[in-house]
């Protein structure tokens, strides 16, 4: 079979073939990761078999609220996105960059990269593919490539899923990032489930994906299969729980840096940093240096940081963003406005995680809408850091 990486080949596989897909990836020494139920949520973790996937579960999400519910069917991907993202694997929360040792012949510095796994991600959503592409730009483009991110990213095998469900917090449709996957995958599934069947339309996105599909039992997709798959995506598209008006948003936010809304949101904001941790595009880190008791070894550790901490903006003499309003404004205007100046796209893919996982339910779409409703537009007025 000839595979066109532009998504030419489409086939249909069964639930059993999905099991073979997982086995084939494991046999290639991939660390197979996918959605699974843990602690009352759908998280991403090791997947040894189809049985580990969250069959028959769905998520109910609202601002600051999340719980799981049973579905009426046994769909494997019948939910939206959970508290975690693939960021935790490609850009891990804690990473030792190097260790140094004082030996008889001076100091030696070691970087242990022997453990870099080959990832296979099962169930990557359209918004998440866009988030990975955004982090690729941050870490791999430009003159300063992030070596370890590159090592984890380069061989990652991605099995995407077209969403069959949108959460009340989803707004990928308004960000142009979903619910249909468009690029950046090896294989893409669309789950077709009803009383008569449980199958997956598979789209090939790369040569590696095509090779793997060839090794699985499959049949060519019929027109009816493709129409059914399109219908799933169309239904999800129309069920988007939220919307963000992006037209002129960058200019609007950048012209409203002294809007009273920043103080209003700050009265509620806990500056806890949950929004930045769950966001699949937030990439900021801090480094910590540790030395041991004897002064004979030291290590440098990189950890996820958050623009909501005081240390994040600590320059000589103190933090330049001491108020919660300056920190929330920094986060949101970076995400939705200055990200475009910096990287050419919005920093938000509309996954809704920051809305769901904010303990007090602060909603980025509502905050943007509030500023749009009452623009102050006092251009040129300088805004202080704090």
């Amino acid at each position: 079979m000839q595979h066109r990486p532009d998504g030419g080949t489409k086939a249909v596989i069964s639930r059993e073939a999905l099991q073979q897909l997982i086995e084939a990836l494991s046999a290639e020494n991939c660390r197979v990761l996918g959605p699974t139920v843990r602690d009352g949520a759908i998280v991403y973790d090791e997947i040894a078999q189809v049985g580990n996937l969250p069959a028959g579960w769905t998520d109910r999400q609202e601002a600051g609220r999340y719980h799981l519910e049973r579905r009426e069917d046994d769909a494997l991907f019948g939910f939206a996105v959970g508290p975690q993202s693939w960021k935790q694997f490609l850009h891990p929360p804690v990473e030792t960059l190097w260790t140094a040792r004082q030996g008889d012949d001076g100091i030696s510095i070691a970087t242990d990269r022997s453990e870099t796994p080959i990832f296979a991600f099962i169930g990557v959503r359209a918004c998440e593919l866009h988030a990975i592409a955004i982090q690729d730009r941050v870490f791999l483009d430009g003159p300063y490539r992030d070596v370890t991110y590159g090592m984890r990213r380069q061989d990652a095998f991605i099995v995407a899923v077209n969403c069959g469900n949108a959460a009340a917090t989803c707004f990928c449709a308004s960000m142009g990032t979903g619910p249909k996957v468009d690029a950046g995958f090896d294989l893409a599934l669309t789950e077709l489930i009803d009383a008569t069947r449980h199958e997956f339309v598979v789209e090939v996105g790369s040569e590696a994906g095509g090779d793997l599909l060839d090794r699985l039992p499959h049949r060519p997709a019929a027109n009816a299969d493709l129409l059914a798959a399109e219908a799933v995506i169309a239904r999800t598209q129309s069920a988007m729980g939220r919307r963000l008006e992006t037209d002129g948003l960058k200019e609007l936010l950048q012209a409203n840096l002294n809007h009273p809304r920043w103080d209003e949101v700050a009265a509620r904001c806990l500056a806890c940093g949950n929004c930045t941790s769950v966001c699949p595009t937030c990439f900021c880190t801090t480094v910590e240096d540790h030395s041991d008791l004897m002064g004979s070894s030291a290590e440098r550790i990189r950890k996820w940081d958050s623009c909501f901490t005081l240390d994040f903006s600590y320059l000589h003499g103190g933090s330049v963003r001491t108020t919660a309003s300056s920190r929330y404004r920094q986060w949101m205007t970076h995400k939705l406005a200055s990200w475009i100046d910096q990287f050419g796209t919005s920093g938000c893919v509309g996954c809704g995680r920051c809305i769901t996982w904010c303990p007090v339910g602060i909603d980025i779409t509502a905050e943007a809408a509030a500023i749009r409703a009452t623009p102050q537009s006092r251009k040129g007025e300088p805004h202080g850091g704090t």
Binding site: G40, V43, R268, C272, N274, S291, M294, S306, T309, L310
Partner: protein, 257 residues
């Protein structure tokens, strides 16, 4: 010739001993520690007590008696670098509940012969009495953080200890937020350090490490009420090991505590 090791002293004021025991609990590091530093005065570990001055003093406990208020001055005079460890030493501890009540009522209720008790009306952190060089939070402190503070002291560097919320640690370890699933949690206003132990066991945070750097306790209390907590629950949850820490005291009071 081997350079002289810095001399360590460990002091106890009003406290449960849990924090100093964290030092003895550092089994893997204890021998190395004893090699790097001379344990000159640590009654909990050794009856051999060497005279001061000391290079590094670790102070556990709060000030609750006139005698201790004097003794801490002596400790400061003998210590080049002084670190307070634990909620008692840094915030007054659970015993600071007396600050909001009549201590004589407590004494009468607790002791058979109140006349033998000589105590102050308040329990105050060490920093209310003397200059403190570093405060390590927690009830009890985290032994890995204690080793970090001592290692940093020995290397002449700043300890890598974050003052942000527990949430950031919780997310770093991949735990699922319990608050968003309906369990009230103090994590968003609490100082990191424990590694988010309770949320990772599906419990809300109890606030053992006291207020984080910029605690918005009012907004959190508001959300607690949405989740069904009563004002009394909120007053009580802010009145534990760090009851006298300003942000927690104020929030407790706002709900009738």
């Amino acid at each position: 010739m081997k350079a002289q090791r810095p001399r360590l002293a460990v002091w106890k004021f009003a406290s449960c001993d849990g924090c100093q025991l964290s030092l003895l609990d550092c089994e893997d590091e204890l021998l190395t520690l004893a090699g790097a530093i001379e344990i000159a005065n640590f009654p909990e570990a050794s009856s051999l007590i060497l005279d001061g001055p000391y290079d590094l003093s670790l102070v556990e406990g709060s000030i609750t008696t006139a005698h201790d208020a004097e003794r801490i001055q002596m400790v400061r005079q003998q210590s080049k670098f002084l670190v307070t460890i634990g909620a008692c030493a840094t915030a007054g501890g659970i015993q600071a509940l007396r600050n909001f009540a009549d201590v004589d009522d407590y004494i009468a209720a607790v002791y058979a012969s109140p006349k033998y008790i000589s105590t102050l009306a308040t329990s105050t952190p060490i920093s209310a009495h003397i200059a403190v060089d570093y405060e390590l939070r927690g009830c009890p402190i985290n032994k890995a953080q204690l080793i970090e503070v001592i290692s940093a002291y020995l290397a002449g560097r700043k300890p890598s200890i974050a003052a942000h919320s527990v949430c950031i640690e919780c997310k770093q370890r991949g735990a699922v937020c319990v608050m968003v699933q309906g369990t009230p949690c103090l994590g968003p206003v609490t100082h990191a350090g424990c590694g988010a132990i309770c949320p990772s066991f599906r419990r809300g945070c109890y606030g053992c490490y006291g207020p984080m750097e910029t605690p918005n306790t009012a907004a959190l209390a508001c959300e607690w009420q949405v989740l069904g907590a009563t004002p009394r629950d909120i007053a009580r949850v802010f009145s534990t090991f760090n009851a006298a820490a300003e942000a927690f005291r104020k929030e407790s009071k706002a709900h009738g505590g």
